[in-house]
Assembly symmetry: C2
Homo-oligomer: 439 residues x 2
């Protein structure tokens, strides 16, 4: 089974644990059996890998998420990377062409497209398989998964099926309704649009050629910025006559807001958090290296990271987006393919960050035009390459990097270092990548 996992989105609704480059699927909130935590991405990837049938996974994503994906699930997953942000039709077109042109998958095969972020269990993946099998029967050109609504929700799009059978033709798609309309939909047996669907690759390719005039990976990639911002539903599904929906009544939770996310948490406290006996229905998610103490609260979510601190009534947290959009602030934490960094001090002409490199990894070989840097290794060992010269480093070693110096550090063990950036114009944009030399 070919799975196309869609990993996109920004992180405004789960601030401060999400930020401009860390979307909700990267937040580690689900407890593993070993006591550590995994993200939605890690969870769904692990779930897919543990199925007793074969799946080929391709992740359709954008450039900003590549580092985090590499960090969280390694470099084995195939990524179809959007060069810039469009909507789901271009993204799926590009990913489909990637499957065919880059991965060499036959156009006769089927692809199951599904978003990376619903919280699901094993039965969901069984359903994906049945969805693919249904598509293979050839009764319809497009087969969708519809979620049986748990309540009349204003947050989802709906599909109106012809019949209440497990498999049915789709009569119509409906945009997010108001509460009253949502109730009517539910009574009619309508289903939430899960964003999950299956098609034969040749069908997609044909549709893409029709709509865009070309359908090969390279041309799509080169012209990506010019493609229309349109969703797959609008461009394809709503215009398709031969379309079926399969009902799914198992676990399916959209964890898009703090309110829904906390419902899926196994514990009420993640990180260093304490609360008194008078707290009721309080959740603490604390990524900071300091304690949070909650007293006398009810229905409150407290979430803290280096980006900031949210204290919100659970219901009210759904309205946070405009406040977060208003915070113009450099990113304070990022996962990179090689590890992560965290800003620990900000001054006008200096910035201090803590850099963590995973064993065997190294940052890009790069230089800065307007700033010097001082690295103090606080744990681990590896070697630096500076202007082509390689030198071993270990805990306690200090490295000076002048503006213009091409540099990297390659970690043997895990390496942590404190980087002090110094200069009049410190900016994440002041970075030039180079080919590694002299090693």
């Amino acid at each position: 089974m070919n799975i196309l996992l869609l990993s996109g989105g920004s992180g405004k609704r789960l601030w401060p644990l999400s930020n401009g480059i860390r979307s909700k699927q990267f937040i580690k909130i689900f407890k593993r059996s070993d006591g550590s935590y995994e993200s939605m991405l890690q969870r769904v990837y692990r779930q897919l890998r543990s199925l007793d049938f074969e799946v080929d996974i391709t992740i359709a994503t954008n450039r900003a998420q590549v580092s985090a994906i590499r960090n969280q699930i390694g470099d084995k997953a195939d990524l179809a990377i959007e060069p810039c942000s469009r909507d789901t039709f271009p993204a799926i077109a590009l990913a489909g062409a990637y499957l065919v042109d880059v991965k060499g998958i036959s156009e006769e095969e089927f692809a199951v497209v599904c978003p990376v972020d619903p919280y699901v269990e094993r039965d969901y993946f069984e359903a994906l398989k049945m969805l693919a099998e249904q598509a293979e029967k050839g009764e319809a050109r497009l087969v969708l998964m519809g979620i049986e609504p748990a309540y009349p929700s204003e947050k989802y799009g709906y599909m109106i099926p012809e019949k209440k059978d497990r498999i049915s033709k789709v009569l119509a798609f409906k945009e997010k309704p108001d509460l009253e309309t949502a109730k009517q939909y539910m009574e009619q047996g309508a289903l939430w649009n899960s964003g999950v669907f299956v098609f034969r690759l040749s069908y997609l390719i044909e549709q893409v050629r029709k709509k865009l005039g070309y359908c090969d990976y390279q041309t799509l990639l080169e012209n990506y910025a010019k493609l229309p911002k349109i969703s797959f539903d609008c461009a394809i599904a709503e215009k398709e006559d031969s379309i079926q929906v399969m009902r799914f009544g198992g676990t399916w939770k959209d964890l898009g807001t703090w309110n829904t996310l906390t419902e899926a948490m196994d514990e009420v406290v993640i990180g260093d958090g304490r609360m008194d006996d008078t707290c009721e229905n309080v959740y603490i998610l604390n990524e900071l290296d300091m304690p949070v103490l909650a007293m006398g609260l009810r229905d409150v979510i407290i979430s803290a990271s280096v980006e900031g601190i949210l204290v919100s009534d659970r219901e009210q947290s759904s309205y946070m987006k405009p406040f977060v959009e208003d915070m113009h602030r450099q990113i304070r934490f990022a996962e990179k393919s090689w590890g992560s960094f965290k800003v620990i001090d900000v001054e006008e002409e200096s910035l201090t960050i803590k850099v963590t490199l995973n064993p065997g990894h190294s940052m890009n070989y790069h230089s800065h035009e307007f700033r010097d840097e001082v690295w103090t290794v606080i744990s681990g060992r590896g070697y630096t390459v500076i202007n082509g010269k390689r030198k071993p480093v270990k805990t306690g070693d200090v490295t000076f990097l002048r503006a213009g110096d091409r540099h990297t550090i390659i970690a043997d063990t895990g390496v942590e270092l404190i980087e002090v950036q110094l200069g009049r114009e410190i900016s994440v944009r002041d970075k030039k990548k180079h080919e590694l030399e002299g090693v």
Copy 2:
């Protein structure tokens, strides 16, 4: 007028803005006319300095507070420093002896003892003056200030006066009562014990000699650890027959808990804090370099510092002490006589701190046995002294300090530096002071 300001206490009730060494009187929460904030200590000191009559101020305090006092009000204030923590009788005995033996004030003069931490206005200081004048009349050996209760409080000790006149003999002292008893006291015209009182120095000296067997500063200092832990009220006031109280009905607020402290705040937000329209009666005090967003809350105090984050119902916050006592954690922020430091990263074998030196100041000349340090100056200039060798430093310079190196930095301008401590045993106790050499 001789003022003895008592500055003691620990910071458990105003965590996380207070900590083991930062008591509530050092938290900067009162807005100055220039938009900056001042602490209770700075406020009362400024108020005393702006009176139109002369005051000689001595601060009775303990060792842990000396740096913060020097930092906040400079080095001009006279400090009578307890070598260890006793109760108020030994503290006042030592401070009284300091006035006479060290400052050379005549035993015939009067001293007004008052705690540093009530929130007061000009009329309070006028009342102190009247209190001293009343004492000078010689009608009683001890004259106290009694606060007219605003409500029946269980938090204060009470004094029962003979009459409801402005000046009256005191019939009895009462411990903190329950609510019912407090109501009865109020009806009887009882007054809160403010901890403010006046005596002739010769009276104090005589009492100290009687109770302790000696009364000179040097002997008290040397034997301080052996002195009984007893309050001035218990040791002296409650046993004195010749005692008067003067009523005070002006502004007097004890800001000992978040609930009372927030009542005295001029603004609901100090630091980077935002709240939505649905927040009611919410206070944000944020010392961190990141935004706090509050949504849909009512009657909540949010307070954040490098020590931690408190989110509490305002009433409930009064019960935080046991939770804070349970947090065994190194201090993350401290004001020093020369500036301040803040812990910005903690690892097993490293600690990274940001050090801020005020212009013209320098840290003690010292060495560490078990750790190396790396200093990166991020702003300002001055010079280092390492093993007797002086060297200028400026922004961008890096200094290595090996275990055993005697070192200091002397700031010409304000200096900020990032200090990375490295070693297997990093402890605040690993510090040996030396005489500055070779400068």
